[in-house]
């Protein structure tokens, strides 16, 4: 038996260096608690962090012990621990290939005991039991394991009580046979203190895929390497892909609407108020936003006033090019975890599909301009970045309109508000983490603010505020 008090200091020093640990640099106390045993070799423990500011977080830590120190597992070593009078070596179980098979085999058996629910969706044979696992290195907030090249298991590190939206949507879209999402193969959910926690999910792995962000950057690089071609003349044109991506996103939205229903647009003023709040907060960190603040506030107010006739439904919530995978035959959208900042309970709330579209439009803006961040501003490059961005935003929207039967551009006011809201978040993020990139959201926000101002003038000339009018909130 692992003694809790022996384990606590090992986890405390180890967890601080893990990529998925959100509390880096925050003062807090760590405690551990035994959660469930998945097999004689794998015990899942919980690490509870109580921050000094009163907040708390819960993490899962699957562990396995070895009698001898393993040379090839140094990167997964928590430390040495005394168990039943003998010194053992303690490892993060997800990296230990001879024990990771239990997740899949238990899902295939649909094992269900002691409040631990392994589920399998569809054909149990689709779970590649017996394939060896490998932890992917790209993942930030969770730990993902690839089994062979057939399935990918996402192990949720930070646990939150309630229904996991990615699993919930996976089950629903499995049933409707949606083309543009990966198939959900299995999940692991466990009960604790009267709450239910999603611990892991398994999906089909898209073997031949690369993500849209890589593809789009490739197109931009190709264009920027040309002396004087326009975006529509360059060999690496992305508009065809953007168009098909638009179709795919529209079909995903349609699938979600069928699976979860739609509801009328409500609480617009509350949503607009939240946008104003986020802008307030951003202004306190990013003073460069000041000149465009009034225009942005107009965009939010227009949204609250004009309303939206786009119905609310389940959406992706955090859609960007990196969440879209180009496989050999089609685009696939992944990671339906909702807005990452929101609490789990809020993530399943119906929202406007225009929010997803705005997210993707922002992503095109980033892709188009990324070379300028890398190699510095040149007027010629900036012109072509704008041309690329416009061309691909248009192609994406055309594709979406084609499949959805309505053009998102007909909803210019809410679309602008969502785009601005997203760009404000980006500005905040960039100012804190990547100041070099701040120029991208700032340029977009300045344009969106101007658009909003002009749109208002066109709408109602007599009511148009004079230039330099203070915040008209």
């Amino acid at each position: 038996m692992i003694v809790r008090e022996d384990l606590r200091p090992l986890v405390e020093s180890w967890i601080a260096s893990q990529r998925w640990f959100a509390g880096k640099g925050r003062a807090g106390a760590v405690d551990v608690e035994h959660f469930v045993d998945l097999s004689p070799d794998v015990a899942v423990w919980l690490a509870r962090i109580d921050y000094e500011d009163g907040a708390g977080e819960l993490y899962q830590v699957p562990l396995t012990v070895r009698d001898e120190r393993q040379d090839n597992l140094e990167h997964a070593l928590l430390g040495k621990i005394e168990i039943d009078g003998a010194w053992r070596w303690l490892y993060d179980a997800l990296y230990v290939k001879d024990v990771t098979g239990v997740w899949l085999s238990a899902m295939r058996e649909r094992r269900n005991d002691g409040g631990v629910h392994f589920a399998c969706y569809g054909d149990p044979a689709a779970l590649p039991v017996g394939q060896s696992s490998l932890v992917l290195t790209a993942e930030q907030s969770n730990t993902s394991l690839m089994y062979g090249d057939i399935a990918i298991m996402k192990v949720f590190r930070r646990l939150q009580p309630g229904v996991n939206p990615d699993i919930e949507i996976g089950i629903a879209l499995n049933e409707s046979g949606a083309r543009h999402v990966p198939r959900l193969l299995g999940s692991l959910i466990a009960d604790h203190d009267g709450e239910s926690y999603a611990l892991a999910m398994v999906q089909e792995f898209m073997t031949t895929a690369t993500d849209g962000w890589e593809l789009a950057k490739n197109s931009v690089r190709d264009l920027m390497a040309e002396a004087d071609l326009h975006a529509d003349e360059a060999g690496g044109d992305f508009a065809g892909e953007a168009h098909r991506l638009g179709i795919a996103v529209a079909e995903v939205h349609a699938d979600l609407a069928i699976a979860f229903g739609v509801s009328p647009a409500v609480e617009l003023s509350a949503r607009a108020a939240a946008m104003h709040d986020r802008l307030d907060h951003a202004l306190s960190v990013v003073p460069q936003l000041e000149p465009m603040a009034s225009g942005l506030r107009k965009a939010y107010d227009d949204f609250a006033d004009a309303g939206s006739d786009v119905q609310l439904q389940r959406i992706h919530g955090d859609l960007h090019l990196g969440q879209a995978l180009r496989t050999s035959s089609r685009w696939v959208v992944i990671d339906f975890e909702g807005e990452p900042m929101a609490e789990l309970a809020a993530r399943g709330r119906p929202d406007s599909p225009l929010r997803d579209i705005a997210g993707m439009l922002r992503s095109f803006e980033y892709a188009g301009n990324h070379r300028i961040i890398e190699i510095g501003f040149q007027p010629q490059l900036a012109y072509r970045a704008a041309e690329w961005t416009q061309r691909n935003r248009d192609a994406f929207l055309d594709g979406y309109a084609e499949a959805a039967g309505h053009d998102p551009r007909e909803h210019a006011v809410p679309l602008r508000a969502f785009e601005a809201d997203k760009a404000v978040y980006e500005a905040l993020y960039e100012a804190r983490n990547r100041p070099d990139w701040l120029a991208i959201p700032l340029a977009s926000l300045s344009r969106l603010a101007l658009d909003a101002t002009e749109a208002r003038s066109a709408l109602d000339v007599t009511d148009a505020p004079s230039a330099g009018t203070e915040d008209n909130r």
Binding site: T208, T210, E214, D222, D232, R326, S328
Partner: protein, 589 residues
């Protein structure tokens, strides 16, 4: 070097019924290759004289487009006698000599055979129009009006207003899917079926190794159908196959059906039998996909079509090509609702302009040697037997001023001498002028100079063909797209038994890194095929490669505990080689 053939099996023509799956094909126009009698037109004797060159290059099988008697209104595809030779090209005896000489060198020959239609100059047609009740009266499809079969599309929309043309002699309309001087044969007539089989037998008896069957989807026509790919057509092809197999077991039928792969696969016949219709069929969409993939620097145009290509019966093979004599058929391939490429083509003026017209490979790629090599490497490594087009191995150019049919049919460029060494005639007498421009002209681009220069495209192509032959995976193996982290890089594995070859192709003009999941071969050291260099061991983590712009790798992945050749046999072979070397030295001394 890995698994070299210890003896050369090519000297004597082996009776391998699956030879076509490993073969490298070479399309050669008799008219354009070599002129033996100085009349300005290439001929069968001229081609026979050049067989050693083709053997040296590594060609396994020649494909000869039609050399039959013909009014030549459609490049010889308008045949007026199925069992003769166009007099300009020589005689049946010349053909027999070509065949024997080819077989002596361990090579084979397939010829074009146009079943669907004849020339209107064919005696059958002349008889049929004169005497509706005579023995040839039903050899063609006749009708009193021109309204039947309205669902059959017109293929040559620029020149033909209708599939029916009125004949003033018989006072009836005749049916033609192509030009109005090419009446369609009526395959419902037992006489036509028998006459076709007799003609094929004539060539098989001479020793021909197979046929490329031109325009097969249109043999039969039925009311209420579009007249393509009908069951009756498949039944007749199966009958042909049976007749051929019974008496001539290792001859191949290569079908030209310019259709979507999912439809073409029907022409292979029943998978349960391993295929009981055509042995081979052209895979048309591969070629435009390669062009689009390189233009977009994206692997998806190729990955997509490979994913859409169905399994074929085990004794069958695709034929793939980059260029041929006559490929202006892309619209048919790409005008597919289900094909995303159509949208890409329609919106890209450069793709439409370049792919739609008849150009040779080198000018199409702006004579960029890296791209020419990349395209050739793809041709030699994607699933299917490659078909080279004469002259592309030296990077010959085209002559756009000759019009789109003749521009790619100019004389083969052998030497920097008069008429590029093709003919000793007065230059004005040549059937087409030789290329004389400053880049592709025969003074710079010719076989002689490239033979002397070991870093030439010709030598490179020869080495690549040799590599292909040393690795049966290319001809016989499975194809697995292994994706990878970089969308500019197309990576796939060809696998046949112990022979595993990883092909990594950078479709971008810039250097690219790529990470590949090769975990299933963990521990193996890949070996680069051309140079033999051993690459770092494959580990558990993604395998990192960097590839130069338009570069590629062919890496053999050895099985970790591969049994080596029997040491005694190898030692003996080495000694034999040593003896031969010594003898050769003595001769020269």
């Amino acid at each position: 070097m890995q698994s070299p053939p210890l003896t050369d099996p090519g000297v004597e023509k082996s009776r391998d019924p699956l030879w076509f799956k490993r073969a490298v094909f070479y399309e050669v126009l008799v008219r354009g290759f070599a002129d033996s009698n100085g009349d300005g037109t290439g001929d069968l004797r001229g081609l026979t004289d050049k067989l050693d060159y083709l053997k040296w290059l590594g060609v396994d099988c020649l494909w000869l487009p039609p050399f039959y008697p013909s009014p030549l209104r459609d490049g010889g595809y308008d045949i007026s006698d199925y069992t003769g030779v166009l007099p300009e090209f020589g005689t049946i005896d010349d053909f027999r000599r070509l065949l024997d000489a080819t077989h002596e060198r361990g090579m084979r020959v397939i010829i074009d055979f146009v079943m669907n239609h004849t020339s209107d100059a064919h005696p059958w047609f002349q008889e049929s129009r004169k005497d509706p009740d005579g023995p040839y009266g039903d050899f063609y499809v006749w009708s009193d009006d021109n309204t039947r079969y309205p669902d059959a599309r017109i293929i040559f929309v620029d020149t033909e207003p209708s599939n029916w043309t009125f004949d003033s002699v018989r006072k009836q309309y005749f049916w033609h899917r192509f030009f109005n001087h090419q009446p369609d044969l009526n395959f419902d007539s037992p006489g036509v079926q028998q006459a076709t089989i007799d003609a094929l037998r004539f060539w098989l008896d001479l020793g021909i190794d197979g046929f490329r069957l031109d325009a097969v989807p249109y043999l039969f026509v039925r009311d209420g159908t579009n007249g393509e790919n009908l069951p009756e057509t498949h039944d007749f092809l199966k009958r042909l196959r049976k007749e051929i197999d019974r008496d001539f077991p290792d001859r191949v039928m290569l079908c030209e059906a310019n259709q979507w792969p999912a439809d073409v696969v029907e022409y292979f016949g029943d998978p349960a039998t391993g295929g009981d219709e055509c042995h081979m069929a052209f895979h048309f969409p591969v070629m435009p996909r390669i062009f689009m993939a390189v233009r977009r620097s994206s692997r998806y145009p190729i990955s997509d079509i490979m994913a859409q290509t169905p399994e074929i019966p085990k004794n069958c093979q695709w034929g793939i090509f980059l260029r041929n004599h006559d490929e202006l058929t892309l619209e048919m391939v790409t005008h597919e609702e289900r094909d995303y490429m159509w949208g890409e083509y329609a919106t890209d003026p450069r793709m439409k302009a370049n792919i739609g017209i008849r150009r040779r490979l080198a000018p199409l790629l702006d004579n960029d040697i890296n791209q020419i090599e990349l395209f050739t490497a793809l041709l030699l490594s994607l699933p299917g037997s490659p078909v080279l087009y004469y002259g592309d191995e030296i990077g010959m150019g085209d002559n756009i001023w000759l019009g789109d049919r003749d521009g790619v049919r100019t004389p083969m460029q052998w030497t920097p001498d008069r008429n590029s060494g093709f003919s000793s005639c007065d230059p004005g007498r040549l059937y087409l002028p030789v290329n004389m421009d400053s880049i592709y002209g025969y003074q710079v681009t010719n076989v002689e100079s490239q033979t002397r220069n070991t870093s030439s495209l010709l030598h490179w192509t020869r080495r690549m063909i040799e590599m292909r032959k040393q690795n049966p995976a290319f001809g016989m193996g499975t194809f697995t797209d292994i994706g990878g982290s970089n969308p500019c890089v197309l990576s796939f594995v060809r696998e046949f038994g112990d022979d595993i070859v990883l092909c990594v192709n950078n479709l971008s003009r810039f250097p690219q890194p790529v990470e590949l999941n090769l975990r299933q071969w963990e521990g193996a050291h890949p070996i680069e095929l051309l140079g033999g260099a051993q690459f770092p061991a494959i580990g558990e983590l993604p395998y990192l490669l960097t590839v130069a712009g338009h570069g590629f790798y062919w890496l053999r992945i050895p099985r970790r505990h591969q049994p080596t050749a029997e040491p005694a046999a190898l030692a003996e072979a080495l000694n034999t080689a040593h003896d031969q070397h010594t003898e050769a030295s003595e001769v020269t001394e």
